[in-house]
Symmetry: C2
Subunit: 336 residues, 2 copies
């Protein structure tokens, strides 16, 4: 870039007016004469003028930007939530600044710091792994909405999530309702969400008098984790006729494990996932799942955030959305 970019002063000089008037005209003020407006617009176009967002943000003391931290972009679940967030954000004329932390709390914290330096006006954290104390500290600076995790509370923090325990219960009851009794659970590890979904499973089993059959195989919310867990399960509990996997991604891994060992769902084993990511509906997968309204959750998150951006003193909210069992092709009554 040898030549400096044109500034508002260059435009003003060319149009023969003051920089203030250029500023006004470019932002569409109605107190600029038609004549000046035309001259200014023409000058700006000829010079290829672009406003400098850094200068504008500095002068305004606002960035019209919200920050979104998410786990990663590979799990399509996050993309769906993000769609909802961006829809609302665009409507409001804000932009979204997106960072990923890959589940590493330190990295997440540093990405968050970057967002705050950019003067984002609010933050949406989607499935993060931050230390609760860090989240609370951030919430003292800016409104925060946490999506898909409900265990962190504090002033300035709103949450959007589903009732994971009830969901785990419903998923399990679906299998029980089909006639299964030897139902195992591929868990999602020790995250709060995973624990809730597992608790729901255990509750449903106990309530149905199947407490003795509770069988949990630890997984990790990933495809690989689900695959490995399912393989271990097939060894350890060959009598199982159904599996509830803690999320769709690990359910897909489990499905792969079944496939690799010459089995299939629901013929050999019925399988239910959790999340409702649209890819899992796809093609030959047709995964039965507890579907969360992901895009809706994203919209709601953004709405709640803007409420607090606009009136910082308004109360934080805890929204619980309902998930619904979506029966597709991987569950059926047990083979006789």
């Amino acid at each position: 870039m040898t030549d400096r970019r044109p500034t508002i002063n260059d435009v003003a000089a060319r149009a023969g007016v003051s920089k203030s008037l250029v500023s006004l005209a470019l932002r569409g003020s109605d107190k600029v004469s038609e004549e000046s407006r035309a001259a200014i617009l023409a000058a700006a176009a000829e010079l290829g003028y672009r406003p400098n967002a850094a200068a504008r943000n500095l002068a305004d003391r606002r960035s019209r930007t919200i920050g979104v931290l998410l786990h990663d972009l590979h799990n399509p679940v996050f993309a769906e939530v993000l769609d909802g967030v961006q829809e609302i954000t665009r409507q409001r004329g804000y932009r979204t600044m997106l960072v990923t932390g890959h589940g590493d709390p330190e990295r997440e914290e540093s990405e968050l710091a970057g967002l705050l330096e950019f003067q984002v006006e609010g933050l949406i954290l989607i499935s993060h792994r931050l230390d609760p104390e860090v989240a609370r500290r951030v919430a003292r600076e800016r409104p925060v909405v946490i999506v898909l995790r409900h265990d962190i509370t504090g002033p300035g923090i709103s949450t959007i999530c589903t009732d994971d325990r009830a969901g785990g219960r419903a998923a399990t009851e679906h299998l029980i309702g089909l006639g299964h009794s030897r139902i195992a659970h591929v868990s999602g590890g020790d995250s709060p969400i995973a624990r809730d979904r597992q608790a729901g499973y255990e509750e449903a089993m106990t309530a149905a008098g199947l407490g003795a059959d509770v069988l949990v195989e630890p997984g990790s919310f990933t495809e690989a984790g689900g695959r490995a867990a399912m393989l271990r399960l097939l060894e350890r509990a060959p009598q199982a006729t159904a599996v509830f996997a803690a999320n769709d991604l690990s359910a897909l891994g489990a499905l792969g494990a079944l496939h690799d060992t010459g089995r299939s769902a629901p013929a050999d084993i019925s399988l239910v996932g959790f999340d409702g990511m649209s890819l899992a509906a796809l093609g030959s997968l047709r995964l039965t799942t507890m579907a969360q309204p992901l895009t809706r959750m994203g919209q709601l998150a953004a709405q709640r955030l803007f409420e607090r951006i606009e009136s910082p003193l308004s109360r934080t909210q805890r929204d619980v959305v309902v998930s619904e069992l979506t029966a597709r092709g991987t569950t059926a009554p047990p083979a006789a």
Copy 2:
């Protein structure tokens, strides 16, 4: 936010030094005495000081940020490219600003304008639909690297892509090599990439003396498009034993269509995709595909971009990476 955030002046006052020294200390200069440094760091921590990125960018006249425009976040292909981009970007101490255009040229252009207002130092366009003239205009302002599309050239534009025509040929040859002759193509519509892949298909067919069997069913690079195209194909060409789909996502749709009509791959029809998105390897899908080195392409894109950011006069590059046929579970010789 009733109370103003602390600035560098507040830190300076508290530490009993000048703002200049605070600025130096916070950026790790070695010409600050240990004593001052400690006082400054302590004061900054006590106040919860965060540098204001807008002010910094304005003063430096650089943002240490690159902009990435991508189609959307649902196709996991883009997430994989992005991983590569972000890896390099992080290494350089830059941040990435991510926007999506959802294939709408106007929206893409407006998102791009936003990035340029933020003074991004360079741009990576992943599978965009911009008007070539717009892309060239932008490239006059900032270095641009285009990934997954090679038809736009001009000063300031580098490209990273694979040889889509050769890839289309290789995918088709794989099917021919397995003994198929009635091979159809589910195309990706009329984008340049789609046209190249289709041309490769036609070349391979013709070269194998199967020119008369060329059969193209228009699709759209989406799951729904692939599904619909496959359904039409089953009506229109029941004799086909193999299909080359223009990308993995539409191949997955095609797979779903097969499934829905009581068929499967490769038993009834062999199926090859294109892209190499990791989700398609997953579970029971095991899609055979022409795999592009997606993450590598992202890394390369970022490297090329930084070369041009660092020496703006260096030449732009056109990198062509090789894709490889990855035979998984959806292709086999035709049924006897």
